[in-house]
Point group: C2
Chain length 427, copies 2
């Protein structure tokens, strides 16, 4: 079974909005073992939307399109689908009632222009899950089908999970599934990570080439049935990801193969692996702090709150995170933390970490100072970063020389600070 | 002139990585008046990359592809291009020297596998700007051309601006250009923003329909030459964007038309407009604080540092931002700010704002408290948010009832806090 994704919106085509929806849908499809070899983007124009949907339907079993279901004059997906189906748009009372319901909690009523959102192609079924104002649509086209969802990610996601994927799976014949696991690393460049596991990759290639007799309609290309594949993905602020994948008709077996492969790769990568899949560095750190029943406070200068904001993003952070001081101005560092010039130094971050720990009464103090740029400070170049940690009877400082712009330097500094804390907790 | 974008990487096709590059390239092309009607994504497979490039070249004048120039075995773009050109890969010493240079500042040497990155298709020219380890390539194909850049956004962007766009413009005949301006709003849903300017949209549609005699190869569809178009773009955490666009062969004229349209739309939208184009809420606020020569300190609970981190992201924030207290644990709110239960209340945020102002000696105190979820707190439901501000002889509190998950509630709270500060500064 093959499905295509058509993302609709001139904003996407012009790059004024990043298309994250196609990626999310593709990921869910691949997890469900459904192939998706083509992804298209098209603007807000009835005839071009229609053309894109026609091409997609001609080579695939179904199309998921997202975007263009809003209330304004440039929302044209329902018109294009009605044209393709050869039907008219009709007013759907059940959809309209849901739209009214969306506005009522704030004592508001829908605007007149919201009425168009209750107009659906005759013969289409509105998707029951309607998170926002726009309805999703299931539109039969002979033995094929067009699914339409709003472009708002949260609305699309709920419809995809609860209505579209179940509908697709009920139509699917081949029950092959693809299982992935991503190991997340920090601290090494992509080429070094690849070198550490290069012998294993050669071994897997050999196994795969011995095993080409089985059907191979796999995505990704090269993913041989039941032999794991390894791919690398580098991000400058989130580290290098190592993605393990395997395809099988037996999901349990695929999970077991991935688990064994994870064990092998972890033994080669050691403690540079901080998490799996969507697990963030802060979640990894939070797990360790909770295990040890410790508490944490932060003192931030160049990161200016990124470090604490990331920690607080972990649900239940209140169990271990007491708070932090964003001591941005030098006078504030001096007043609250007793730190005097040079504030971009090993001495400063050690003092910041120790003093915030004492002030907040926490078990751990973690601090950052440095120059994010664009200007230098105290003679230190942009990218000069110091991280301090105070834990047990130790207080240590780490120096980094980072490349990139202000935003990157600050984000990478927060990652280094969390990673230092992680390694201290592992030690 | 028409150009296509081909984004290469199985990770993109599978949705494991979001393709932000295509959008960035499309935006730069449209600013340069170059049409881009198709965008494709393809996985790491030589024959499929080759097929995608062939299709793209057959219907366009040039192709920009990004990704697949890394050092690992799944980086296959250079092989696909060499195949298409009917040439071999050859070792380029100048590229290799640049690769060695990238490693030397940290006293390191490239790994053996980096050598493949110095292999380029015979007849291709490496792009002079090489930000990272991977070189960009300009590959002539008869009177057409393939540009290849690495997938790392920062590397792609520098090559695009400094080498690829100038090369494209030197080949371009039609000097038509598209000018955009985006007005950023906060506080109203998309349908309300649209209603405020609905009469103007009707007027522009009328003007456009009177003016269809001129050539219309425009993107976005419907953009008639020299009559502005208006599009809406809603984001749940960054507000509704209203994008004005106009196409003309005379860039100065286009800029004047957009400036006049901006004046008209601003008069209809009033102070819900906080910025233009890429201007963030914090940059808008920073501009106003600087104008009034004031200083700021923050006290954050549920936002946990997001507010201060956003403010610090404005270059030169040290001129007005003294720092902040992330008073996450209730004990910390009491110890430093004298705030006792209920901490999720009007009284608490007023006390937090006033007290952090006094502690830090700033002109303004800004505070947040609330329940990000998933659990309730003090009987308040997730999404209950209070913002406090202390400025001049005033100290006020604002209450919001927000929808969405933990991350959204925290991000939207920070936006509301900044917007409240903005409106106080405007008053």
């Amino acid at each position: 079974m093959q499905i295509e994704i058509v993302a609709i919106g001139t904003e996407l085509l012009l790059g004024l909005l990043t298309d994250t929806n196609s990626g999310h849908i593709a990921q869910k499809l691949s997890e469900a073992g459904v192939d998706c070899c083509f992804q298209t983007r098209v603007g807000d124009n009835v005839s071009r939307i229609k053309a894109a949907l026609e091409v997609a339907l001609s080579r695939s079993d179904a199309v998921i399109c997202c975007g263009g279901l809003g209330p304004t004059s440039d929302d044209l997906t329902r018109n294009a689908i009605a044209d393709l189906m050869g039907t008219e748009l009709v007013f759907d009372r059940s959809v309209w009632e849901k739209i009214e319901l969306r506005f009522s909690p704030n004592g508001q009523k829908p605007a007149e222009i919201n009425k168009v959102q209750a107009m659906i192609p005759q013969g289409a079924t509105p998707i029951a899950q309607q998170v926002g104002v726009a309805p999703g649509l299931i539109c039969p086209m002979g033995n094929k089908v067009i699914y339409a969802t709003p472009g708002v990610p949260a609305e699309m996601k709920e419809m995809l999970t609860d209505a579209i994927l179940p509908d697709i799976l009920s139509r699917k014949m081949n029950k092959e599934t693809m299982v992935f696991k991503t190991l997340r690393t920090w601290g090494l460049p992509e080429s070094k990570v690849a070198e550490l596991i290069s012998e294993r990759i050669v071994e897997l290639d050999r196994l795969a080439s011995e095993n080409t007799s089985l059907a191979d309609s796999a995505i990704p290309p090269g993913a041989k049935t039941e032999v794991p594949t390894i791919a690398f993905l580098a991000s400058s602020t989130e580290g290098v990801k190592v993605r393990l994948g395997v395809k099988s008709t037996d999901k349990e077996k695929a999970l077991a193969i991935i688990a064994e492969e994870e064990r092998i790769i972890r033994s080669l990568l050691g403690d540079t692996v901080f998490g799996v899949d969507e697990e963030s560095m802060e979640e990894s750190v939070a797990g360790l702090i909770r295990q040890k029943k410790l508490t944490l406070a932060t003192a931030e200068s160049l990161t200016g709150g990124i470090l604490s904001a990331r920690i607080v993003n972990v649900p239940g952070a209140s169990e271990f995170f007491l708070g932090g001081l964003v001591s941005y101005a030098s006078a504030i560092k001096e007043k609250f933390l007793g730190v005097s010039a040079p504030v971009v130094s090993n001495t400063a971050v050690v003092a910041m970490a120790s003093e915030v720990r004492r002030l907040f009464g926490s078990d751990i103090g973690l601090s950052t100072s440095g120059v994010a740029g664009p200007a230098s400070q105290e003679g230190a170049e942009p990218g000069s970063v110091y991280i301090g940690i105070s834990l047990g009877d130790k207080a240590e400082a780490y120096y980094f020389r980072l490349r990139g712009d202000r935003e990157r330097v600050r984000q990478v500094s927060a990652m280094h600070a969390l990673d230092i804390l992680r390694k201290h907790l592992l030690a």
